[in-house]
Protein backbone atom coordinates (compact mmCIF):
# COMPACT_ATOMS: atom_id res chain seq x y z
CA UNK A 1 0.00 0.00 0.00
CA UNK A 2 1.41 3.34 -1.05
CA UNK A 3 1.12 6.52 0.93
CA UNK A 4 -0.46 9.65 -0.49
CA UNK A 5 -0.07 13.12 1.00
CA UNK A 6 -2.70 15.69 0.09
CA UNK A 7 -1.72 19.31 0.73
CA UNK A 8 -4.39 22.02 1.09
CA UNK A 9 -2.97 25.45 0.42
CA UNK A 10 -6.03 27.59 -0.28
CA UNK A 11 -8.81 29.10 1.78
CA UNK A 12 -12.18 27.30 1.69
CA UNK A 13 -14.01 29.71 -0.63
CA UNK A 14 -11.13 30.73 -2.87
CA UNK A 15 -11.96 28.04 -5.41
CA UNK A 16 -13.32 24.52 -5.58
CA UNK A 17 -9.99 23.18 -4.28
CA UNK A 18 -11.33 22.36 -0.81
CA UNK A 19 -14.23 20.26 -2.12
CA UNK A 20 -12.02 18.48 -4.64
CA UNK A 21 -9.46 17.80 -1.93
CA UNK A 22 -12.13 16.11 0.20
CA UNK A 23 -13.31 14.09 -2.82
CA UNK A 24 -9.73 12.96 -3.40
CA UNK A 25 -9.01 12.10 0.24
CA UNK A 26 -12.17 10.01 0.69
CA UNK A 27 -11.89 8.22 -2.66
CA UNK A 28 -8.18 7.45 -2.31
CA UNK A 29 -8.71 6.18 1.24
CA UNK A 30 -11.62 3.98 0.17
CA UNK A 31 -9.36 2.48 -2.53
CA UNK A 32 -6.84 1.51 0.12
CA UNK A 33 -4.25 4.28 -0.05
CA UNK A 34 -2.56 5.35 3.17
CA UNK A 35 -3.72 8.97 3.00
CA UNK A 36 -2.45 11.86 5.09
CA UNK A 37 -3.84 15.39 4.84
CA UNK A 38 -1.86 18.58 5.30
CA UNK A 39 -3.11 22.12 5.85
CA UNK A 40 -0.49 24.72 4.98
CA UNK A 41 -0.50 28.46 4.19
CA UNK A 42 -4.05 29.73 3.51
CA UNK A 43 -5.17 26.08 3.62
CA UNK A 44 -5.41 26.43 7.42
CA UNK A 45 -8.42 28.70 6.90
CA UNK A 46 -10.35 25.56 5.86
CA UNK A 47 -10.08 24.50 9.50
CA UNK A 48 -11.92 27.46 11.01
CA UNK A 49 -14.90 26.24 13.04
CA UNK A 50 -16.89 29.47 12.61
CA UNK A 51 -17.31 29.20 8.81
CA UNK A 52 -20.80 29.80 7.40
CA UNK A 53 -20.50 29.15 3.67
CA UNK A 54 -24.30 28.96 3.36
CA UNK A 55 -24.28 32.78 3.55
CA UNK A 56 -22.79 32.54 0.04
CA UNK A 57 -24.97 29.53 -0.90
CA UNK A 58 -21.86 27.36 -0.90
CA UNK A 59 -21.72 23.81 0.41
CA UNK A 60 -19.98 23.41 3.77
CA UNK A 61 -17.46 20.84 2.55
CA UNK A 62 -15.32 21.23 5.69
CA UNK A 63 -17.98 19.25 7.55
CA UNK A 64 -16.67 16.25 5.63
CA UNK A 65 -13.43 16.46 7.63
CA UNK A 66 -15.43 14.70 10.33
CA UNK A 67 -15.73 11.70 8.00
CA UNK A 68 -11.98 11.28 7.63
CA UNK A 69 -11.63 8.99 10.63
CA UNK A 70 -14.34 6.63 9.33
CA UNK A 71 -12.16 6.20 6.25
CA UNK A 72 -9.12 5.56 8.47
CA UNK A 73 -7.60 8.90 7.51
CA UNK A 74 -6.10 9.72 10.88
CA UNK A 75 -3.00 11.64 9.91
CA UNK A 76 -4.14 15.25 9.69
CA UNK A 77 -1.25 17.68 9.93
CA UNK A 78 -1.36 21.43 10.25
CA UNK A 79 1.47 23.91 9.84
CA UNK A 80 2.13 25.68 13.14
CA UNK A 81 3.72 28.68 11.46
CA UNK A 82 0.76 29.14 9.09
CA UNK A 83 -1.63 29.17 12.07
CA UNK A 84 0.47 31.62 14.08
CA UNK A 85 0.87 34.01 11.16
CA UNK A 86 -2.92 34.09 10.78
CA UNK A 87 -3.66 34.50 14.50
CA UNK A 88 -5.50 31.19 14.65
CA UNK A 89 -5.62 29.32 17.97
CA UNK A 90 -5.94 25.54 18.13
CA UNK A 91 -9.34 25.79 19.85
CA UNK A 92 -10.77 27.46 16.72
CA UNK A 93 -10.15 24.35 14.62
CA UNK A 94 -12.91 22.07 13.34
CA UNK A 95 -11.07 18.73 13.32
CA UNK A 96 -8.66 16.82 15.54
CA UNK A 97 -5.21 17.31 14.08
CA UNK A 98 -1.48 17.41 14.83
CA UNK A 99 0.12 20.83 14.70
CA UNK A 100 3.66 20.52 13.35
CA UNK A 101 6.77 22.65 13.07
CA UNK A 102 8.43 23.24 9.69
CA UNK A 103 10.97 20.50 10.37
CA UNK A 104 8.31 18.00 11.40
CA UNK A 105 6.20 18.85 8.35
CA UNK A 106 9.13 18.35 6.04
CA UNK A 107 9.87 14.96 7.65
CA UNK A 108 6.24 13.83 7.22
CA UNK A 109 6.17 14.93 3.60
CA UNK A 110 9.52 13.28 2.89
CA UNK A 111 7.96 9.93 3.84
CA UNK A 112 5.06 10.09 1.39
CA UNK A 113 5.28 8.08 -1.83
CA UNK A 114 3.10 10.55 -3.69
CA UNK A 115 2.13 14.14 -2.97
CA UNK A 116 -0.68 16.19 -4.49
CA UNK A 117 -1.22 19.88 -3.74
CA UNK A 118 -4.68 21.39 -4.10
CA UNK A 119 -4.47 25.08 -4.84
Amino acid sequence: MKSLAIINQQGPLHSNAGQESVDLVLAAASFGQDVSVFFIDDGVFQLLKMQKPDVLEHKHFAKSFGAFEFYDVENIYVCQRSLTLRNIESNQLNVACQILSDTELNAKLANAHNIITLS
Partner: protein, 130 residues
Protein backbone atom coordinates in the same frame (compact mmCIF):
# COMPACT_ATOMS: atom_id res chain seq x y z
CA UNK B 1 -30.71 55.23 -10.45
CA UNK B 2 -27.70 54.15 -12.48
CA UNK B 3 -26.80 51.79 -15.29
CA UNK B 4 -24.13 49.16 -14.59
CA UNK B 5 -21.92 47.08 -16.83
CA UNK B 6 -20.78 43.87 -15.15
CA UNK B 7 -17.59 42.19 -16.39
CA UNK B 8 -16.77 38.63 -15.34
CA UNK B 9 -13.25 37.35 -16.00
CA UNK B 10 -12.90 34.61 -13.39
CA UNK B 11 -13.96 30.97 -13.76
CA UNK B 12 -16.77 30.00 -11.40
CA UNK B 13 -14.86 27.09 -9.85
CA UNK B 14 -11.49 28.84 -9.60
CA UNK B 15 -12.66 31.96 -7.77
CA UNK B 16 -15.65 33.32 -5.91
CA UNK B 17 -15.81 36.14 -8.50
CA UNK B 18 -18.56 34.75 -10.72
CA UNK B 19 -20.83 34.23 -7.69
CA UNK B 20 -20.05 37.74 -6.35
CA UNK B 21 -20.95 39.16 -9.76
CA UNK B 22 -24.28 37.34 -9.62
CA UNK B 23 -25.07 38.71 -6.16
CA UNK B 24 -24.02 42.24 -7.13
CA UNK B 25 -26.17 42.14 -10.27
CA UNK B 26 -29.16 40.78 -8.38
CA UNK B 27 -28.83 43.42 -5.65
CA UNK B 28 -28.37 46.29 -8.10
CA UNK B 29 -31.62 45.29 -9.83
CA UNK B 30 -33.48 44.93 -6.52
CA UNK B 31 -32.36 48.44 -5.62
CA UNK B 32 -33.74 49.89 -8.83
CA UNK B 33 -30.63 50.13 -10.95
CA UNK B 34 -30.35 49.01 -14.55
CA UNK B 35 -27.90 46.45 -15.89
CA UNK B 36 -26.67 47.33 -19.39
CA UNK B 37 -25.30 43.82 -19.60
CA UNK B 38 -22.93 41.22 -18.24
CA UNK B 39 -19.84 40.54 -20.32
CA UNK B 40 -17.95 37.27 -19.81
CA UNK B 41 -14.28 37.33 -20.81
CA UNK B 42 -11.12 35.27 -20.17
CA UNK B 43 -11.98 32.20 -18.06
CA UNK B 44 -15.19 33.93 -17.03
CA UNK B 45 -16.71 32.39 -20.18
CA UNK B 46 -16.72 28.96 -18.53
CA UNK B 47 -19.98 29.69 -16.73
CA UNK B 48 -21.80 29.68 -20.11
CA UNK B 49 -21.17 25.97 -20.69
CA UNK B 50 -24.58 24.22 -20.69
CA UNK B 51 -22.94 20.84 -20.06
CA UNK B 52 -21.99 21.77 -16.47
CA UNK B 53 -23.42 19.30 -13.96
CA UNK B 54 -22.93 19.96 -10.28
CA UNK B 55 -23.64 17.38 -7.61
CA UNK B 56 -27.04 17.92 -6.00
CA UNK B 57 -25.71 19.48 -2.78
CA UNK B 58 -23.34 21.87 -4.57
CA UNK B 59 -23.95 25.44 -5.69
CA UNK B 60 -25.19 25.44 -9.30
CA UNK B 61 -24.49 28.94 -10.55
CA UNK B 62 -25.45 28.40 -14.21
CA UNK B 63 -29.24 28.18 -13.59
CA UNK B 64 -29.04 31.19 -11.27
CA UNK B 65 -27.62 33.37 -14.03
CA UNK B 66 -30.16 32.00 -16.51
CA UNK B 67 -33.09 32.78 -14.21
CA UNK B 68 -31.80 36.25 -13.38
CA UNK B 69 -31.28 37.07 -17.05
CA UNK B 70 -34.66 35.75 -18.15
CA UNK B 71 -36.55 37.45 -15.37
CA UNK B 72 -34.98 40.86 -15.85
CA UNK B 73 -34.05 40.76 -19.55
CA UNK B 74 -30.35 41.17 -18.88
CA UNK B 75 -28.01 40.49 -21.80
CA UNK B 76 -25.46 37.80 -20.89
CA UNK B 77 -22.73 38.36 -23.46
CA UNK B 78 -19.93 35.88 -23.92
CA UNK B 79 -16.83 36.85 -25.88
CA UNK B 80 -16.74 34.45 -28.82
CA UNK B 81 -12.95 34.25 -29.12
CA UNK B 82 -12.38 33.66 -25.41
CA UNK B 83 -15.20 31.09 -25.43
CA UNK B 84 -13.98 29.18 -28.47
CA UNK B 85 -10.49 28.91 -26.99
CA UNK B 86 -12.09 27.24 -23.95
CA UNK B 87 -14.40 24.89 -25.81
CA UNK B 88 -17.60 26.92 -25.46
CA UNK B 89 -19.37 26.88 -28.81
CA UNK B 90 -22.60 28.59 -29.84
CA UNK B 91 -25.20 27.15 -32.22
CA UNK B 92 -23.96 29.49 -34.93
CA UNK B 93 -20.37 28.27 -34.41
CA UNK B 94 -21.65 24.68 -34.57
CA UNK B 95 -23.45 25.31 -37.86
CA UNK B 96 -20.27 26.76 -39.31
CA UNK B 97 -18.41 23.64 -38.15
CA UNK B 98 -20.97 21.46 -40.03
CA UNK B 99 -21.97 19.85 -36.73
CA UNK B 100 -25.15 21.83 -36.11
CA UNK B 101 -26.15 19.86 -32.99
CA UNK B 102 -22.83 20.17 -31.20
CA UNK B 103 -22.89 23.32 -29.14
CA UNK B 104 -22.83 24.11 -25.44
CA UNK B 105 -23.67 27.82 -25.34
CA UNK B 106 -27.39 28.62 -25.40
CA UNK B 107 -29.64 31.61 -24.74
CA UNK B 108 -29.90 33.64 -22.61
CA UNK B 109 -26.10 33.52 -23.00
CA UNK B 110 -25.12 35.10 -26.32
CA UNK B 111 -21.90 34.73 -28.27
CA UNK B 112 -20.64 38.21 -29.18
CA UNK B 113 -17.55 40.16 -30.20
CA UNK B 114 -15.66 42.67 -28.07
CA UNK B 115 -17.57 45.44 -29.84
CA UNK B 116 -20.55 44.53 -27.65
CA UNK B 117 -18.47 45.23 -24.56
CA UNK B 118 -17.64 48.67 -25.92
CA UNK B 119 -21.33 49.39 -26.61
CA UNK B 120 -22.22 48.20 -23.12
CA UNK B 121 -19.59 50.42 -21.51
CA UNK B 122 -20.71 53.42 -23.57
CA UNK B 123 -24.29 53.14 -22.41
CA UNK B 124 -23.60 52.55 -18.72
CA UNK B 125 -22.64 54.83 -15.86
CA UNK B 126 -20.33 52.46 -14.09
CA UNK B 127 -18.55 49.19 -14.82
CA UNK B 128 -17.41 46.67 -12.28
CA UNK B 129 -15.29 43.60 -12.82
CA UNK B 130 -15.34 40.28 -10.97
Amino acid sequence: MARFSIIVTSASLDSQGCYSAYRFTQTAITNGHQISGVFFYQSGVNIANTFQTMLSDELALYPKWVDLANEHKIPLQVCVTAANRRGIISEQDAIQNDTPELFNLKPPFQSVGIGELVSMLNESDRSIQF
